[in-house]
């Protein structure tokens, strides 16, 4: 089973400004702090981990984990490369002879492709608060970091499917032509 994942390095929340002093035009940028890719066929043994993954030089930033909520699923934890705070494009190691696709799981011979579900869960990391113009409204650096962190939590909470404060997205699964 192949997967193609990519993350934009910056997401943002931005407020409006009308040019008449109403609204600060503030912008908070986020990166993706951590992501979990979970692939589940709905039954034990339907999917297996890719045994070749251990050979890839991912510096320990990508590894299999077992999710409490779905112990039979193939779940991969994806962390930033050392020295970086967020995930960027193509965080998974490519499969052999592939540039963009990686192979996080092996599908069992009796597994119905239609039964496979994939889900991506991410947590946000605030990268900074930026305000254009009017210096009088600019918070101190300390307050700006706090505001960015709080808005990051708020963004996660508003968009979360569950109670954990993490953002979830279903990933389409298709049979390869």
């Amino acid at each position: 089973m192949f997967a193609h994942l990519g993350f934009l390095e910056r997401l943002y929340v931005q407020t409006k400004t009308d040019g008449a002093g109403i609204g600060s035009g503030a912008r908070i940028e986020f990166s993706i702090r951590r992501a979990y890719l979970s692939i589940d066929s709905g039954r034990a043994g339907g999917l297996a981990r890719n045994p070749d993954w251990a050979q890839f030089p991912t510096s320990g930033s990508v590894y299999y984990v077992i999710a409490k909520a779905a112990p039979h699923a193939i779940t991969i934890c994806i962390n930033p490369q050392p020295g970086q705070t967020g995930l960027s494009d193509l965080p998974l190691p490519p499969a052999e002879h592939e540039n963009f696709l990686s192979m996080p799981a092996i599908v069992g011979p009796d597994t119905d492709i239609g039964s496979i579900r994939a889900e991506l869960t991410v947590s946000l990391c605030p990268e900074g608060l930026f305000i254009a113009g009017d210096d009088a409204r600019r918070p101190s650096a300390s307050s700006a970091r706090k505001i960015a962190a709080i808005v990051s939590v708020l963004a996660s909470k508003c968009d979360a499917a569950g109670h954990s404060g993490l953002i979830r997205r279903d990933i389409p699964v298709r049979e390869r032509a």
Binding site: G23, R137, A144, R145
Partner: protein, 333 residues
């Protein structure tokens, strides 16, 4: 793929951002709690797993926040109020000011001190101490933990007794209660106390493991006592006629008082005859051993100085109540 452009940015978030910026422009240093409140977030629920790296929490009142699994890398906690804060599994790499912080989760709970993570050599080298203190081995305490600044006192025990949390009402031998360490409590009584304290506070209180106890007693030292290779009566209560109030002697380097002397302290572990076998290298409770005995550490007012050594071990029946034995609590952060 997670989209980068703002389908994930509903207007309420932008409105909240505007509100927070307005707060910060009116007050140069709005408190973290006020900002959280203005954003409509719940300190007890919404910061689990949050990314809070490099935040300046100096002087902040953080009581009641749950920072479990949060990224607190580089955060500054100097002079912050942290009673009741959960740091379970949080990343505290490079965090400042948490080590040495004191807090009390509820009024009647023991005062706690945050001690650092680290590694130490447990036991005594050949030719020193007793045979049951060998082989000396390395133990790594991988996370900071909170430890009672003093042994549990009579007034703390009596508060638990008065609230029905413990059923045993220990005698004080006529020496007085108050800030003296509680005595005449068994290991089982101590378990009842930490169970009650955990229920009252919602935090996990327990006895120290034997390894954690020695780690806290040594406080980074490698000598016989945390004071050096000798100890005198200005430093601990020993070879005496009774216990003294907690806090009567100077604290060790990590702010813990009377780790040497005054009362023996129950640890969580069963007794093992020595460190042969495979004691845990992470400071956790060592399973197995003699289940009828529990470890005692620290020596007491009753003993001579050789019993107060950091590495000195003793085992006693878990149901016995002795007038020179008390205990100290630890709390998972």
């Amino acid at each position: 793929m997670i989209s980068g452009k703002s389908p994930t940015t509903p207007d309420p978030i932008a409105e909240a951002l505007e509100k927070l910026i307005a707060m910060a422009s009116e007050n140069a240093q709005p408190s973290f709690r006020d900002l959280v409140k203005a954003a409509g977030l719940d300190p007890e629920r919404d910061f689990v797993g949050a990314s809070l790296r490099d935040l300046d929490f100096r002087n902040e009142d953080l009581r009641g926040f749950d920072f479990s699994d949060a990224d607190l890398t580089g955060a500054d906690f100097r002079r912050a109020k942290i009673a009741g804060v959960s740091f379970f599994d949080a990343d505290l790499t490079g965090a400042i000011g948490l080590i040495g912080a004191r807090f009390r989760d509820i009024d009647v709970a023991p005062e706690m001190v945050v001690v650092p993570s680290g590694a130490f050599l447990m036991g005594s080298r050949d030719g020193e101490g007793d045979d049951d203190e060998r082989p000396r081995h390395e133990v790594s305490i991988v996370r900071p933990l909170a430890v009672g600044r003093f042994a549990v006192t009579f007034e703390e025990w009596d508060a638990a007794y008065g609230r029905g949390g413990v059923k045993h009402n220990p005698g004080d031998e006529g020496w007085g209660r108050g800030r003296r360490p509680v005595i005449n409590v068994s290991w089982e009584d101590a378990q009842a106390y930490v169970g009650w304290l955990s229920r009252e506070t919602g935090k996990t209180y327990r006895l120290l493991s034997e390894a954690q106890w020695e780690y806290c007693c040594r406080a980074g030292t490698t000598t016989e006592y945390s004071y050096g290779d000798e100890i005198d009566k200005s430093q601990a209560q020993f070879s005496a006629r009774r216990s003294v109030e907690t806090g009567s002697f100077p604290a060790n380097a990590w702010g813990l008082h009377e780790m040497h002397g005054n009362v023996w302290e129950w640890c969580q572990d069963n007794w093992h005859d020595d460190y042969e076998g495979n004691p845990p290298s992470d400071g956790s409770v060592w399973p197995g051993g003699d289940a009828s005995l529990r470890v005692l550490r620290g020596g007491s007012w009753y003993n001579g100085p050789q019993y107060l050594r950091s590495a000195k071990r003793f085992g006693y029946l878990l149901g016995y109540r002795l007038y020179f034995v008390g205990f100290r609590v630890a709390r998972t952060l």
